[in-house]
């Protein structure tokens, strides 16, 4: 059967667009293959060459229409080659169109506004986009910023994060890094829970009973408002367990986060990819 004769319903293969050594991509590929479907991991260049987008009678047609998961590796921060960057951006633009237009399932499908998600490097901005009440003040600076604004409730410690190394230390300690830096109020000894969301399903990572906080329901709500299919929401739990505040939304959960919930997440992922 040639590619032009096959339809989306006949395809049983998954394309994961990721760095070939991405641990999550490898885990998903192996799991999908073990379930009886085919799966490949392609980098941006190879994936872009796999697909064709044509417009017929004002209708965009993507071929082949196969399910996709996008875990795009970030390009080099410094340009090494004009040609390499041009080729990368051309492939990225094509993949954006493919993933946005294909009728096949796409995990974290990009929208018309861009390839990126609505999750920002700024937690405060992400909270706004998710429709959450304003949280603690957040500061970005080239140097470790001093505490700004009043502390809130149990958030009495000013934490400073080095964005180069992701090291976070309590003020006035210094990480020793060169920054840049991001800082925010939090608890002196915060307590966390991680919830992985896949569309309308959510799985807390720990087995601790926290039903009254409704973390699964709140996490699916946040992820939906951010326009995502898959994400991990990190919650900071108050010491008395009476309240929880989302502190981070990760649109590309890592392999450790997913493995903790794989018993529920894995089968649901197959249902989403191969309905």
């Amino acid at each position: 059967m040639s590619s032009s004769e096959a339809s989306a319903s006949d395809s049983s293969g998954l394309v994961v667009v990721a760095d070939p050594e991405d641990a999550v991509a490898a885990e998903i590929r192996d799991f999908v293959e073990d379930s009886g479907h085919e799966a490949v991991i392609l980098d941006v260049f190879d994936a872009a060459q796999l697909f064709t987008v044509t417009v017929e009678d004002s209708v965009a047609v993507v071929e082949p229409a196969v399910p996709m998961i996008l875990r795009l590796p970030s390009p080099p921060l410094r340009r090494i080659s004009f040609d390499a960057e041009f080729q990368f951006n051309e492939c990225l633009a094509h993949l954006w169109a493919v993933a946005a237009l294909t009728p096949a399932p796409v995990i974290n499908r990009p929208g018309p506004g861009g390839l990126g998600t609505r999750v920002s490097a700024s937690a405060a901005l992400t909270e706004l986009r998710a429709g959450l009440p304003g949280g603690s003040v957040e500061v970005f600076s080239s140097r470790p910023p001093e505490p700004v604004g009043p502390a809130e409730a149990e958030s009495t410690q000013w934490w400073v994060q080095d964005l180069a190394s992701w090291t976070t230390v309590p003020w006035p300690e210094r990480s020793g890094g060169s920054g840049p830096f991001r800082a925010r109020w939090s608890a002196p000894d915060p307590l966390f829970e991680n919830v992985v969301v896949l569309r309308d399903h959510a799985w807390p990572s720990s087995a601790v009973e926290l039903d009254r906080l409704r973390l699964e329901e709140r996490s699916t709500d946040i992820v939906a408002r951010l326009g995502l299919d898959l994400a991990a929401v990190v919650w900071r739990i108050s010491p008395d367990l009476t309240s929880a505040k989302p502190v981070m939304v990760e649109p590309f959960p890592d392999v450790e986060q997913l493995r903790m919930v794989w018993l529920g997440f894995g089968p649901q992922l197959l249902k989403v990819l191969f309905p």
Binding site: M1, D19, D46, A164, P170, G177
Partner: protein
């Protein structure tokens, strides 16, 4: 620069995806390549290692870190950041050839190296300046060293009263794998 896939390579990927056996249907050319057999075997080995384990206990990552560590910055010290433009060059000029250079032949890259051959720049000064564009990429992740704790409550030598249910639950959550994982990477703020 990454070469484009040949037509034969592209057909092979498409054919493999679409030629997968479905519900009793067998398509011609669906035989697995050696690479596919190796991957299938590796997948089975991984699956066998997973058997018998409760996934909620979590598994140790093979390398302990995200696969993207430091790989994006291959050769940064000598190559020019055209976006800065502070060297006075008008990068649009390459089309006009005003300075006589053909930027597309890679000659502006002093080392002339393909970026995949370069070394990681871990100095941090330029690499640390994350772009402010849309957050649509897998973030590079590093595993920081053990962090100092601020105000970590010390377990009392002896308790005058038993723990409340909330305190027990909080202690259980604190000792959970996900908390240790997140705290080990740095307090999430």
């Amino acid at each position: 620069m990454r070469p484009f896939l040949s037509a034969a390579e592209r057909r092979d990927v498409t054919g493999r995806l679409w030629a997968a056996p479905q519900q009793g249907l067998v398509f011609p050319g669906a035989e697995m390549t050696a690479g596919e057999r190796r991957r299938r075997k590796r997948g089975k080995d991984v699956k066998e290692s997973k058997e018998g384990k409760d996934s909620k206990d979590g598994k140790e990552s093979k390398e302990g870190k995200d696969s993207k560590d430091g790989k994006d910055e291959k050769e940064g010290k000598d190559s020019k950041d055209y976006k800065d433009g502070k060297d006075g060059k008008d990068h649009k000029d390459h089309k006009d050839g005003k300075d006589g250079k053909d930027h597309k032949d890679g000659k502006d890259d002093k080392d002339g190296k393909d970026h995949k051959d370069g070394k990681d720049d871990k100095e941090g000064s330029d690499w640390a300046m994350a772009p402010s564009g849309p957050d649509g990429f897998v973030r590079q992740r590093f595993e920081p060293a053990a962090l100092p704790s601020a105000g970590m409550p010390q377990a009392p030598a002896d308790r005058a009263h038993p723990l409340t249910e909330e305190e027990e639950t909080a202690a259980e959550l604190r000792s959970s794998r996900v908390n240790r994982l997140l705290r080990g990477r740095g307090v999430v703020i």
